[in-house]
């Protein structure tokens, strides 16, 4: 019997243009093979650069940018789509194989109504009449749980939320009744509570329509909920390929084992949390347009410990960090550091007050001057706060480089020559150079691959043990909170909904929102999604 999709020995290459060198051809995917049966889901998992999106797009005979498929076969119903001509490929795309992009917000055309875009491919390929396609779209909006499905199609992309757009994109892919859908990280850009809804909607839609799918993600816990088989990829090669059960419960390769064991506790919770280094009392803040982003927030960071601030996008957690650093003066409330009250505006703070609070950003990339070397970047606060120059400064920078486990060989490198994890380490060294008592970490690991993020967290914990620096760690990832926090603050729409030692916030009795947040985090467990959804249904039935 012919499988719906078989990929055999797929080779994909690209031409890269390194600055100052001649263009060269590189290979991105080295001979990957897999089979997919009708109605099944295969999860492709790996870090960034593993080639998973590239493989997914190859199922549509498409290469992004300068990417070319250089060898192998992609057989759809036994026919090699790589040998098809332009017209053949066009008839395949949008009809037999559809694509769901990571960022639906960018993938929808802002100039057209959602409904028209959803049925466009179906009409283009003459698969249905306009009326039939509309009805199909309505049916899909319903099974995907979109609000007001009858009128949803009349709205424009900017009029609905990110989670809704992602579901609309899934409807768009399902509309033409394709045999295969390629999901490219469809929930990565979403908040956890939204992610679970979208995930459930996608799973439900796949079951209802019986389509097959390639599900691309970097999150093993997500893929475990939705796939039948999993392929683990690294550097464009297959690491391990097997059923979900085998990969999750009995991984063979070291790399897969490492991916699975990422989420583990690193730090015991400190017993005494009363010795506050920083206290924030009744802080309210708003941006220029008068929109209030923080409402009466009070919390404290114990000396030498870690406070994790959790919440979804728009909850005001980054604003809180801006208020503490003095970048955004609060409209109300006080900030006490040690035993002195900090002036609310950064310009009124003394140099020493500035030195004691440092920041690490989510995107280390944009927080560093690309024209400065690592040595200059780390050396700058040394001169600014301590007046170190010349040889002394260089020695101190090298010490710091050793502390972040990079070594003095990086002294003359530029940020562009570093990997994502290395850049974040340099950012940490820059913060450490000021010898701060508190470091505000604004999602420092969320742009990094899991294993790299793990390394950064280990580093931060080691530095805390050595220098007893305190952290205010902003994150949306509950797994990180469980791993490193001593105390936890939960924020929702600019308000503090829960605050206390980790053990009390993360164990019952829960605050309602904290409960929802905790239950939405995917766990590395088969059938977890069904369990959560069943609980939800029972709760809503109980109400």
């Amino acid at each position: 019997m012919v499988n719906m999709l078989s990929v055999r020995n797929l080779q994909i290459g690209a031409t890269v243009y390194p600055p100052g060198e001649n263009p060269k051809d590189i290979t991105i995917v080295h001979g990957v093979s897999f089979e997919l049966e009708r109605g099944k889901v295969l999860g492709l998992i790996g870090e960034s650069g593993a080639g998973k999106s590239t493989i997914g797009l190859a199922a549509l005979a498409y290469g992004r940018g300068g990417v070319r498929i250089t060898g192998g076969e992609v057989l759809l119903d036994g026919e090699d789509i790589l040998k098809a001509d332009k017209k053949g490929i066009r008839q395949l795309r949008g009809a037999k194989v559809c694509y769901v992009a990571q960022s639906a917000a960018a993938a929808f055309n802002p100039a057209h109504k959602l409904g028209d875009q959803v049925i466009e491919a179906t009409l283009e390929h003459g698969l249905m009449t306009r009326e039939e396609a509309r009805e199909r779209a309505l049916y899909l909006f319903k099974i995907l749980g979109l609000p007001d499905p009858n009128n949803f199609g009349d709205r424009f992309p900017h009029q609905v939320s990110g989670g809704q757009l992602q579901r609309a994109m899934t409807a768009m892919a399902l509309c033409s009744n394709p045999e295969l859908i390629v999901f490219d990280e469809p929930t990565t850009a979403l908040d956890v509570t939204t992610q679970i809804d979208v995930l459930a909607a996608i799973k439900n839609a796949i079951e209802e329509t019986g389509t097959a799918a390639l599900y691309i993600t970097h999150d093993l816990a997500v893929v475990a909920q939705i796939s039948d088989d999993i392929m683990v990829l690294r550097h464009g090669e297959t690491v391990e390929y097997g059923s979900v059960q085998q990969i999750i419960e009995n991984p063979q390769e070291e790399y897969t084992k490492a991916l699975i064991s990422v989420r583990q506790t690193k730090q015991r919770e400190a017993k005494d949390q009363s010795n506050a280094l920083l206290s924030v009392d009744n802080i309210s803040a708003s941006y220029g347009n008068g929109f209030k982003v923080l409402h009466d927030v009070s919390l404290h960071v114990p000396r030498g410990q870690t406070l994790a601030v959790v919440g979804e996008s728009g909850s005001g957690k980054s604003t809180l960090a801006r208020v503490i650093t003095g970048l955004l003066p609060p409209t109300d409330g006080t900030i006490t550091f040690g035993d002195e009250i900090l002036p609310s505006h950064r310009k009124k703070r003394t140099r020493d007050q500035l030195r004691r609070v440092q920041l690490i950003y989510q995107m280390a990339d944009t927080a560093m001057n690309p024209r400065q070397t690592v040595g200059q970047i780390i050396g700058r606060p040394l001169t600014f706060y301590f007046g170190l120059r010349g040889k002394k400064r260089k020695e101190r920078v090298q010490e710091l480089l050793d502390e972040i486990e990079m070594g003095s060989g990086f002294y003359d490198r530029y940020p562009a020559e570093l990997s994502g994890g290395q850049k974040q380490r340099v950012a940490i060294a820059r913060a450490l150079a000021a010898e701060p008592e508190l470091i505000l970490c604004d999602e420092p690991t969320s742009a990094l691959d899991p294993l790299v993020a793990e390394g950064i967290l280990d580093l931060l914990m080691r530095l805390q043990a050595e220098t007893s620096v305190s952290y205010l760690f902003i994150t949306h990832d509950i797994a990180i909170v469980r791993a490193i926090a001593d105390s936890v603050a939960v924020m929702l729409q600019g308000k503090l909904v829960d605050f206390g030692p980790r053990s009390s916030v993360l164990s019952p009795p829960f605050d309602d929102y904290t409960d929802l947040l905790l239950k939405s985090v995917p766990e590395m467990e088969l059938g977890w999604l069904e369990k959560v959804l069943a609980t939800r249904r029972m709760e809503s039935a109980g109400n």
């Binding site: 490929i89 795309r93 992009a101 993938a107 802002p110 100039a111 466009e120 491919a121 900017h158």
Partner: protein, 335 residues
């Protein structure tokens, strides 16, 4: 959860949040009117501050202080500047620009015919250059970084770098002096047959087309390239749409705003830049009229021409702004 961030209280939302389109359009209209008023002051003040004096120039050798004084009082120049400004503005709003000092004829009447001539020339240049520029821009995108794109780029750059009078003289040299295929000077008169009129303005039109083509072409190319690289174009391609449909349906609506903007800017330039070209080709339009008026210090004419040019410029830019605003779905369909 999806709408958790919404305020959900329509009563508290401001007018601007509820009707962003209407508010923005009214703002633009108000701004344009204010701008025109400011420009009128500048023109009046600027002309006022010009060195030289009509009476002096007009009388020449026979300028006795008494004669100069007579003419000044005759023209009302002895009254305060503000009085004259408001009187002039009040009349101008009603379409009356006063009488020419030099000829004593009504400025509005004289301008009327010449403005028609100028607009006709600019219009001919526009209907050739706009489609040509947008078309060439699309061709350049299609052959991006290949030979046709480079050729289009080089020619258009050369055209934009040469001043229009130089291009004008080059065209005259080749097409009417050497080969004799075009007529020069480009004189038109009442009762002239339409076809004769068209052949008379062939060279000035060509000159203007050369001057504005490059800018519009390059902006069209840039606008389309930026739209083509967006994620929704990939979506369209992965839906199996043909290249032509992708561009017309998905790229064009999003490229309209930047293209319209640069087109309007160049049309405005056409109407204003026509001055030099008209002089070169001895074409009886506004430009020629204004230049003549400046030489004899015929202030009412200079002021009227200046104000009309400014009004056209502002009007075209306003129209471009309005189209760009209306083309933005976020403003047309607020949340």
């Amino acid at each position: 959860m999806d709408t958790a961030m919404d305020d959900g209280q329509p009563g508290r939302r401001s007018l601007k949040q509820r009707y962003p389109l209407t508010v923005l359009i009214l703002q633009r209209l108000g701004l344009s009117a204010g701008l025109l008023l400011a420009v009128s002051m500048l023109i009046f003040g600027g002309v006022e501050a010009l060195p030289g004096d009509f009476a002096q120039t007009y009388l020449g050798q026979s300028a006795t202080p008494q004669a100069v004084e007579n003419i000044r009082s005759q023209l009302g120049l002895d009254r305060p500047v503000t009085t004259r400004y408001f009187e002039w503005l009040g009349n101008a709003v009603q379409g009356d620009f006063g009488k020419s000092w030099a000829s004593g004829n009504s400025v509005s009447e004289q301008i009327g015919k010449r403005l028609g001539n100028s607009l006709f020339l600019a219009f001919c240049a526009a209907i050739i250059s706009v489609p040509l520029a947008v078309g060439l821009g699309m061709v350049a995108v299609h052959f991006r970084d290949r030979i046709p794109d480079r050729i289009i780029n080089i020619i258009s750059l050369a055209a934009i770098s040469l001043p229009e009078f130089f291009i004008g003289y080059l065209l005259i040299l080749f097409f009417s002096v050497k080969f004799g295929v075009a007529s020069f000077p480009a004189t038109v008169y009442d009762g002239m047959a339409f076809s004769d009129r068209l052949s008379a303005i062939a060279l000035p039109t060509a000159t203007l087309v050369f001057v504005v083509l490059a800018h519009m072409m390059r902006m069209t190319r840039a606008a389309i390239i930026s739209v083509m690289s967006s994620a929704y174009m990939e979506t369209a391609e992965l839906k199996g749409l043909g290249a032509f449909k992708t561009i017309i349906k998905h790229a064009a609506p999003n490229a309209i705003a930047p293209i319209v903007n640069v087109v309007a800017l160049n049309l405005a330039y056409l109407v204003v830049g026509v001055v030099v070209v008209e002089v070169v080709f001895v074409y009886p339009g506004m430009g020629q009229y204004m230049v003549d008026a400046v030489t004899v210090r015929d202030m009412p004419v200079v002021q009227a021409c200046g104000l009309i040019f400014a009004a056209v410029y502002i009007l075209l830019n306003m129209v471009a702004d309005l189209i760009a605003i209306i083309a933005n779905p976020k403003l047309r369909h607020p949340r």
